[in-house]
């Protein structure tokens, strides 16, 4: 039986897409902290245990407390996504739910392990012997990375659908492992996991850079900046290499997306690399051109043919303007973060210290939000760049949506909830920054005993 239909009204389709974009774009930030932060916290705690340095111990306490809030909000905002897969895109789930079910089932177990051990790690801080307690943090780190791998392998499958046979629009044969390990999985999952560590690392470093700018330059704040910053800065060059390979992968496997990212209309050889610019009225304007550079990047020689948007009918092209803009922003931020890391690397190599310039701290404060912007723009690039398909060249987004009327009403409610959630999360995290440090999960109940 074919389960597919079109949206009740065009507005409902837009509403479903906006709702999915907002809840995913929101969750992805929390998920990055969920993947990256446990490793930083466990590392700080380990250093504290080994060296007896109180600054590390205090940092571990503080980060664990923030992690408790971030993980809870991330867990529920992730649950909403699994609801929305069915509520908004039943056409996708009815036909292909079984093809992508295996990685989701594995992700379910990874999330389970993460939740169980996070409960132990946060709440048994003073109940278990210190070394055993430290060890309970390790499954949290591993499961977080594993969750990211499984979930992104599903997104990779949407870009490179494999592992199923279709007969008249019905799935007749499924090879779940082949679907999970599709050609896009290796690079896309690594790109996302590294991004998570960058967001968490620069994000935490930014908080301590802000405090140092206000004159709090003690050991606690210095380590609070240096530890996560170093991790994120060390990952940045690797991330750029992976990103470059991913773009080359697109040239061979998903050329329409690359064409949209580069604003490239015509298929040809000797293609220039365009920096910046705006795609308006069907062509790229005001861009800086480097002759033959895109051809060289894709195939290492100027004669390499790069496919343009003209290779597919107009109805199968993604909207170029946002994809091009977002891709450029992501790359620019990535290169900027690389330079910022090099700055610290150089001064550290020369005189074992942070750069003296206040501009280093100012830029580090910016690096946190910048990493988040790079994350979101990268996500928009891959998601919008896949349009009009939800499953590339197999299922159009418009054919996957719930045909029920009134989806826009759901969007309004969900929007309101996310606004409140954002305000409350930022407020609570900001208060945690200044609160007295107690053991990670002692809160009002201990402090307000009558």
């Amino acid at each position: 039986m074919v389960l597919s239909d079109v949206a009740a009204t065009p507005a409902d389709l837009v509403a479903a897409r906006v709702q999915m974009a907002i809840s995913l774009g929101w969750h992805i930030i929390l998920a990055c902290f969920g993947v990256g932060m446990p490793a930083l916290t466990v590392f700080a705690q380990w250093r504290g245990l080994r060296t007896g340095d109180e600054a590390y111990e205090r940092l571990a306490h503080r980060w664990a407390k923030a992690m408790g809030v971030l993980f809870a909000v991330g867990a529920v905002s992730g649950t909403i996504l699994s609801f929305e897969m069915g509520l908004l895109w039943p056409g996708l789930m009815a036909t292909y739910g079984q093809v992508i079910g295996l990685p989701f089932a594995l992700e379910g177990f990874a999330f389970f392990i993460e939740a169980v051990f996070l409960g132990i790690y946060l709440y048994a801080w003073n109940r278990l012997p210190p070394r055993l307690h430290l060890l309970t943090g390790l499954p949290v780190c591993v499961a977080g990375v594993a969750s990211a791998f499984f979930v992104v392998s599903v997104n990779a499958w949407m870009n490179q659908p494999r592992g199923f046979d279709l007969t008249n629009g019905t799935v007749t044969g499924v090879r779940p492992w082949e679907a999970m390990f599709n050609p896009a999985t290796p690079l896309q999952t690594v790109h996302m996991i590294l991004a998570a560590f960058m967001v968490a690392g620069f994000g935490i470093a930014a908080v301590y850079a802000a405090a140092m700018l206000r004159g709090r330059r003690d050991r606690y704040h210095r380590i609070g900046l240096l530890l996560p910053f170093t991790a994120a800065a060390a990952i940045t060059p690797v991330q750029i290499v992976i990103g470059d390979s991913l773009a080359r992968f697109l040239a061979h496997h998903q050329p329409t997306k690359l064409a949209a990212m580069e604003g490239l209309n015509r298929t040809s050889s000797h293609v220039d690399l365009s920096l910046g610019g705006v795609y308006l009225d069907g062509r790229l304007r005001y861009a800086l051109h480097i002759p033959d550079a895109l051809s060289i990047l894709v195939g290492f020689r100027p004669s390499t043919v790069v496919q343009g948007l003209d290779a597919v009918p107009a109805a199968d092209r993604p909207p170029v303007t946002p994809v091009h803009l977002c891709f450029q922003v992501m790359v620019a931020i990535g290169l900027g973060l690389l330079l910022l890391g090099l700055w610290l690397g150089l001064t550290w190599w020369r005189r074992r210290d942070l750069p003296r310039s206040r501009w280093f701290l100012r830029l580090t404060v910016l690096s946190g939000p910048a990493a988040v912007v790079a994350l979101e723009t990268g996500w928009i690039t891959t998601e919008v760049g896949r349009q009009p398909w939800v499953v590339w060249r197999h299922l159009r987004t418009a054919d996957a949506v719930n045909p029920a009327p009134g989806l826009w009403a759901g969007l309004v409610v969900v929007l309101a909830v996310y606004v409140v959630l954002t305000v409350a999360t930022v407020y609570v995290l900001n208060r945690l920054r200044t609160q007295r440090v107690t053991a990670p999960q002692e809160g009002w109940a201990e402090e307000f005993a009558p």
Partner: protein, 338 residues
């Protein structure tokens, strides 16, 4: 037995665990709402927070497990339920967000107005969410969700006698389970007075929930005759087990035997869920979509079954350790740190 049947049993076991563990966490919010003013309700709220704090996220994952099992193994059924019942399911999703976030926010707050605000959101969403989950179950059980995308009525599929009854039953059940579990937690914490307070609440909610369940049978007889026939036919033993276990838990509560009372209370609730399943098996979406028709491709079922079994090998010991740590004597080392 086929792989599809095994997977259905596993999914239903996951749903049962969600009801027994996650449900009790919702019930904690119910009692948090009724605990009274900040000073009077302090001891109760503290107990609730200590009991559910370390475990609620793990308990919550059972729901995700159930969702994933259904969309992987019975994709058409999942898509039909989600698309027709998208209104109550959206409300459930919002309730889950509000509850989890508010609980975590309250944990991190120290000022009274914040505690009130986040506590209120936590308590309200703890009542709303199980109600709509129950309404969804009622819609499916009474045969109002046909196979197909948004093929059922978007409102009457969940706003009908069976759904309303099931929603009320779900709220009552969560409150009942939480009260029974909390008696034991309070006694372990050395507060016999608090244990007594929850004992009274457990007895009252047992009577109310039992009445809803009994009255519900009449609602189902009028509203969903096929389900009624199943419940009073093939599933009758389970319905009786539920009733007997419920009465036993009341007797045990009255006798202040709190630990065995937990077992019988859980049995009473589990028997209702399995009674429903047995009553309508092998039909998944009444009147005529059966398990074998709705099942995914055999290769998917096999891979999922292997994954779930291997996953359980990792998960079950971890979960048992989590519960063991926090069911032992309360945080003595934490207390000495103050």
């Amino acid at each position: 037995m086929t792989a599809a049947q095994w997977l259905l049993i596993l999914a239903w076991s996951g749903l049962t665990l969600y009801a027994l563990l996650g449900g009790a966490d919702f019930g904690g919010g119910f009692w948090d709402a009724l605990a009274g003013g900040a000073r009077r309700g302090y001891a109760q709220r503290r107990l609730i927070e200590h009991s559910i704090g370390p475990v609620w996220e793990a308990n919550h994952v059972w729901l995700i497990f159930v969702l994933v099992m259904f969309w992987t193994c019975f994709p058409g059924v999942f898509a039909s339920v989600a698309s027709t019942l998208y209104i109550p399911l959206t409300l459930v999703a919002i309730g889950i967000i509000a509850r989890g976030a508010a609980f975590a926010f309250r944990k991190a707050s120290t000022e009274l107005w914040q505690l009130r605000l986040f506590g209120g959101a936590f308590a309200l969403s703890s009542v709303v969410t199980p109600f709509f989950l129950g309404a969804v179950a009622g819609g499916v059980a009474s045969g109002r969700v046909p196979y197909g995308l948004a093929a059922g009525d978007l409102v009457s599929s969940w706003w009908n006698p069976t759904s309303l009854m099931a929603g009320a039953l779900a709220v009552g059940t969560t409150a009942y389970l939480a009260a029974v579990y909390l008696t034991g937690d309070a006694r372990r914490g050395g507060d016999e007075r608090l244990a007594g307070a929850f004992r009274l609440r457990g007895l009252v909610t047992a009577v109310v929930t039992g009445a809803i369940a009994l009255g519900g049978l009449f609602v189902v007889r009028a509203d969903a005759p096929a389900l009624y026939a199943g419940l009073t036919g093939r599933a009758l033993p389970l319905v009786l087990v539920s009733g007997v276990a419920g009465l036993a838990s009341m007797a045990l509560l009255a006798a202040r035997r709190y630990v065995p009372a937990r077992g019988t209370a859980a049995l009473a609730v589990a028997a209702v869920l399995w009674g429903w399943a047995v009553a309508q098996y092998p039909v998944m979406l009444p009147p005529d979509v059966t398990v074998s028709e709705a099942a995914a491709h055999p290769a998917v079922l096999r891979a999922t079954l292997v994954t779930v079994i291997l996953g359980m090998v990792l998960l079950v010991p971890s979960l048992l350790w989590l519960f063991a740590i926090f069911q032992r004597s309360p945080a003595r080392r934490a207390a000495t740190k103050e």
